[in-house]
Amino acid sequence: MTAEVRFEAIHHRFGNFTALHKVDLTIAAGEFIVLLGPSGCGKTTLLSILGGFVTPTEGKVIINGKDMTHVPPRGRPTTTMFQDYALFPHMTLLDNVGFGLRMRGVGKSERRTRAQEMLEMVGLGDKASRRPHELSGGQRQRVALARALAVSPDVLLLDEPLGALDMKLRRQMQDELKAIQRRVGTTFVHVTHDQEEAMAVADRIVVMNQGRIEHCGSPEDVYLRPASLFSANFMGEMNRIPVTANGQNAQSPFGPIAMTMTGREGVLCIRPENIGFSGDVSLGPARLVESGFFGTHHRCHFEPLAAEGTRIVAHLPQGSQPGIGQNVELFATNAVILRDEVAA
């Protein structure tokens, strides 16, 4: 029902292009893990290697302690939920969901019972005799999930499964995926480029970039304590202020910052919602230049008095923004200083 997955030094090349650089990753049994990154970062390749659709140039895939690197998809305890669902258009939902069991030689009546159960689980029990084209996008997505789970895989692979849904439906499906994963306990490996989706469902997020793992940790970790400038940026909007070492502390264009740093140069990263009128790091006085109301917050552009031309973006709670041109003292929380990879 569930299994541990280990990637050992997975290296993969397509011709001259290296898609994965010696990737090591261990996924615990029953974990909901999200591979997150921009297109071309290698996340889908890694998923295909796990599913058995691609053999890595080097390295091993170990599922449940067994080396599966050269086993075809049929022989693996994994199933995939495809991006376009890949439902069989000529079969009813019941036959679609029962297909994997049929391939495993399960008898007709048992197969139908089990498929019906799976359809009930995703809330489509009353539509068993329909065909895929009669369903909405969200419903098809659920059938694909039911079909992949019907064979009780140890590991379920989800390849951008929510990409085709609209925003509202996507939120709803994220909640359902999470709930279903808790219920069945199967290891879920989910690929997406949407960081909000990643945070909504993951136990652990693996941020990937250019064939390497940038950061691997809980959503809070990855969002609040990013390990690299890339993952800090990719997870959401970020104020980036260049700083240099001044003794033990950091020196910004608008004055010293009460934070320790290693190395001579770095980037001070603060998320807009972590800037306000109180906090553990003082940013000094600044003037409000411009502001807009976004419903959940006011988006405000500040200019530090000590460094004209520099802009700091802050998201302030409803009703708390100062008037344009007013001077305030700004503070930050959850600030981190990261090495500038481009400069380094």
Partner: protein, 256 residues
């Protein structure tokens, strides 16, 4: 402009339909020549057609060759399309080119080449030889129709089937073929039509057992006859019936 359009439409319809109308009308001619004036109505030419052993044998031969060669072309084309749509094989482009190539060559040339090879191999002109030739001309047709129908959606469904544990033959039989049913049917019936109507290859590659177009050809040598009109009309009516049936069923577009 309006009147001009309709006048043109009427004139060109007369041009297009004139020969077939004459064909059918004079198949009922009560006389020895299928030319005006119309002397009276009779069905005796149809009776002669049905009583003609050679003609009925040719009809049956055509039927066998058409369905046999189309079935072979369909299977070969389906397998090849499945193979080429699945993975980028080294030389995929060349293989596709080779498979499509016979489409660009005149039937006469294909027949001539086969005739020479079969002479060398000692394969006598026969229905089998003709059938082989018809597979050559219909294979590119089946392959390209089926290959074109295999979109990205198809590929993903096949991957999903494999992922769920289907063996290769199960993927082909349970997922691929049913999903491609319209393309398979279309290519099969088109092949049957082409083979049924094909003359020059059959003319070169048959001798004793001949197909219907070759039999009709030999009837032409004795000049115009209402009997030829009758068999021509029958062939025409059967083709139209098939086309109308396909039009009403297989190719019917859902009304928006």
């Amino acid at each position: 402009m309006r009147i001009l359009s309709w006048a043109y439409l009427v004139l060109i319809f007369v041009f297009i339909l004139l020969p077939v109308v004459a064909l059918v009308v004079f198949s009922f001619q009560d006389g020895r020549l299928p030319v005006p004036p119309l002397k009276g109505f009779t069905l005796k030419w149809y009776a002669e057609v049905i009583a003609d052993r050679d003609l009925m044998a040719a009809l049956w031969n055509s039927f066998i060759v058409a369905f046999g060669s189309s079935a072979v072309a369909l299977v070969l084309g389906f397998l090849a399309a499945s193979g080429l749509a699945r993975v980028a094989l080294p030389g995929s482009v060349v293989m596709r080119g080779v498979l499509i190539a016979p489409m660009t060559v005149s039937y006469l040339i294909i027949g001539l080449g086969l005739l020479q090879i079969f002479n060398k191999l000692g394969l006598r002109p026969s229905l089998l030889a003709t059938g082989i030739g018809h597979v050559v001309i219909n294979l590119p047709l089946c392959f390209s129709i089926i290959y074109a129908a295999m979109g990205e959606h198809q590929r993903n469904a096949l991957r999903a089937a494999r992922d769920l544990g289907a063996r290769e033959w199960q993927v082909l039989a349970l997922v691929s073929a049913p999903m491609l049913a319209p393309a398979l049917a279309a290519s099969f019936f088109l092949s049957v039509t082409f083979s049924w109507d094909e003359f020059i290859i059959a003319f070169l590659l048959t001798r004793f057992d001949i197909t219907l177009p070759v039999e009709i050809w030999s009837m032409l040598r004795s000049g115009l006859s209402p009997k030829t009109n009758a068999i021509g009309s029958l062939v025409f009516l059967v083709s139209v019936a098939i086309v109308v049936t396909l039009e009403l069923t297989l190719f019917r577009k859902p009304r928006p």
